[in-house]
Symmetry: C2
Subunit: 177 residues, 2 copies
């Protein structure tokens, strides 16, 4: 519902109906409509974060780790388009999620640390700010997701695979020594 209509466009009645319950029941499980969105976000972002952490902890060179992160992000579109839509359209917009900023920040921090690791290992050039680079990297990927969400970019199987390859190529080449 949030994906289809946005936060404000999704009515509590719709959400409950979609879940097959009376809308009053929703207030037994959630404190408010906000709380529903917050819960959706927390659960799903938590999953993503866990996977990012797993990639960071793996015994791979930094470039491979970046590739792993890119794949996780881009493949989420095929696995759960509604989730991606909510992330792209609601996160960072509504003030509702301002509390969760810390969790979003953590994802960027992981990317940043991977880049720094690559710089230390001599795989990435040292003359770029790792923090900024992490934002550029994440932003590029998110924009591709946005293109898919808005139906502005083709998202067939081949297209998604090509996007993955292109994003990785450009990012790694851009950071390469």
């Amino acid at each position: 519902m949030f994906a289809e209509h946005g936060y404000h466009g999704a009515r509590v009645g719709d959400i409950a109906e979609d879940a097959g319950v009376a809308h009053g029941l929703l207030y037994h499980y959630f404190a408010s409509k906000d709380d529903v969105l917050r819960t959706i976000f927390a659960e799903n972002w938590g999953d993503l974060l866990e996977r990012f952490r797993a990639v960071e902890a793996a015994a791979e060179p930094a470039p491979d780790k970046l590739v792993g992160i890119a794949k996780i992000l881009l493949r989420t579109w095929r696995n759960d388009p509604a989730l991606v839509t909510v992330m792209v359209r609601e996160v960072a917009r509504s003030q509702l999620l301002q509390d969760q900023v810390e969790e979003v920040r953590e994802a960027f921090a992981i990317v940043q640390r991977v880049i720094e690791e690559g710089q230390a290992a001599g795989a990435f050039r040292r003359d770029v700010d790792a923090r900024l680079a992490s934002w550029l990297f994440y932003g590029g990927l998110e924009e591709v997701l946005t293109g898919w969400v808005l139906g502005q970019l083709p998202d067939g199987d081949d297209d998604v695979a090509r996007a993955e390859r292109t994003a990785i190529e450009v990012a790694l080449h851009g950071l390469a020594v």
Copy 2:
């Protein structure tokens, strides 16, 4: 108002009060609240587009044109933060602006053509899809703007200048042959 509170959070009364008129008067100049946002968007995005077009038409090598576009985008933050906030938070989210998709698409098309031009001239590698690259490029820049909007990235004079340099470095290096 839209920048500060978002579209839904900004009340017609607030907007009118901020403009120093009664809220009824707003409906002499705009058909609806939507229309206010659409007008703001159309006017300002039109300006940006014009400047992008000027860069594209200039007699410069493609890489310099990309630099020009990056500078225009990133410097908008200092020139008009409220505008950037509205762009980042409302465009692509609210369905209100779905009609204007064509104008947004035009900006991406310009970037894409510049990249293709660079590929034809041998300045950029030919093995990346120019369309995807344009989304990656724009997305990276937009994410930096988002970081500033959300107060997650430092935006002092030096910081902005550094972001400009970093974005340009990474993008050009990523696309370079």
